[in-house]
Amino acid sequence: MSETNQEFEPRIVAFVCNWCTYAGADLAGTSRLKYATNVKIVRFPCTGRIDFMLLLKAFEEGADGIIVSGCHPNDCHYTSGNFHARRRWTVFRGLLDFMGIDVRRIHFTWVSAAEGAKWADIVNETVADIRALGPYDEYKSIASNFEKEAAK
């Protein structure tokens, strides 16, 4: 990513469910709402399909922030995918926080197919938050070496 005016450009990936948030992002598009280019969307059939390991892989591959979003409770196209996801996120987030991984960089939310504006706001808000937190070097720096000190 080109670091234009020296300002840190965070790289953020968004895991979204196809029926609600992906459609919400589509709506933001059709309504021509403008938001930052830092966020790239990965489409999942449902938030229930989002594997928690993918969040760690995203950090390892160099993401500075992650957005995870799906249908509001009771709206799920598959009736209960988001309920399962919510439980998974609660437990996973607690474990990450306990191990010192920066959970402020993961923004969990619900965005329905009608909330295009909310999607745009969340993107801009997350980009600003992550820009304030700076790059997640703590995680990326040790991603490839075998010893903590000796970085080969």
């Binding site: 591959e61 490839s144 075998f146 080969k152």
Partner: protein
């Protein structure tokens, strides 16, 4: 001794010595002599990792669209290393290790590291019920393989035997002045005693034709199949090759493996010749006490006892070997 160690550190070489953190003593790079641990019997891991690391890059490659560039590991970058305060059983491990890494394919990475390593052993001041180096041709004062062997004397002095020319080169001039002749010092008095329980030949003899003996099942019922014994063992040389691949390129990585794992012998087609833990335990013992002596004329075990100490279910090797020696 501190002065000598201090000068070695200042010489820019990488000096590795046993260091105590929490309740475990393990080898680590030291920056000052004070870090060196004492009053312990054995380090948890062997020094194997400095010649055969638990994970190392074999080569890395970059992909730019369709073309790929491969670059090898530059072995010159391997640091000159002094392994300080080893025990004779650690050094004894390097011989079978080297034998395997030079059996048919001469492993350049291993040999490069081995060449740049100088081995300073300390004769064992203490031993415990797990040690059985004496039974496998070693001993607390054995000097085979060491470049220098130091025996600590009670009044703070130390008996230093310079064995190889690499060892002689280690003794810098300013330290030479401090030395005096060592004749007349009986080394045996100052080192630990290790009782001899059996001889390697007895074991080799007993193991012939023992492939389908029930003893393997009796001994290994409780074995959980983890890799602790293999990874702490100074002579285990098995490794696995894995891929650290990313779109823009990647690295081929070699890392330790263990015949204790259930999937160690899983064929791609799904067949697994060793499905029971007793078969894997048999493989571990036969490899060290039958196959290696026969093929490489070295014993695959130095009697350091690390595997017994690390085992979660107390698979005590010396107990098992004595059992084998007195079997039938």
């Amino acid at each position: 001794m501190e002065q000598w160690l201090g000068s070695l550190i200042k010489s820019g070489k990488r000096v590795v010595a046993p260091v105590k953190h929490d309740d475990i003593v393990d080898f680590a790079v030291i920056s000052s002599p004070a870090q060196v641990a004492d009053d312990y019997v054995q380090t948890r891991l062997s020094a194997k990792q400095y010649v055969f690391p638990k994970a190392e890059v074999l080569f890395s490659y970059k992909k730019d669209g369709k073309d790929v560039t491969i670059d090898d590991v530059n072995t010159d970058e391997f640091p000159e290393t002094v392994l300080w305060k080893l025990h004779p059983c650690d050094v004894a491990g390097l011989e079978p290790l080297g034998a395997i890494f030079n059996w048919d394919y001469k492993d350049s990475l291993y040999n490069a590291r081995r060449a740049k390593t100088t081995l300073v052993t300390f004769a064992c001041a203490a031993s415990d019920e797990y040690c059985f180096c004496a039974s496998v041709g070693g001993g607390p004062g054995n000097t085979d393989g060491s470049d220098v062997q130091v025996t600590m004397l009670p009044d703070g002095d130390a008996l230093v035997e310079l064995i190889s020319d690499k060892g002689k080169a280690l003794l810098t001039d300013d330290i030479k002045g401090e030395t005096s002749s060592a004749d007349g010092i009986d080394k045996e008095k100052f080192i630990a005693k290790v009782e001899k329980k059996f001889t390697v030949d007895e074991i080799i003899k007993k193991l012939e034709g023992s492939f389908s003996s029930p003893i393997w099942q009796e001994q290994s019922d409780r074995c959980l199949g983890c890799g602790a014994c293999a990874y702490v063992c100074p002579t285990c040389a098995c490794f696995d090759i894995q891929e650290d691949s990313h779109l823009h390129g990647g690295r081929r990585v070699r890392s330790w493996d263990s015949c204790g794992f259930s999937l160690f012998t899983l064929h791609t087609g799904g067949y697994n010749p060793r499905t029971t833990q007793s078969a894997r335990w048999r493989q571990r013992v036969l490899h060290k006490f039958s196959y290696m002596p026969e093929r490489l004329h070295v014993t695959g075990c130095t009697g350091c006892g690390r595997c017994s100490r690390a085992c979660p279910v107390d698979m005590n090797l010396v107990e098992h070997l004595t059992e084998i020696a007195s079997h039938e």
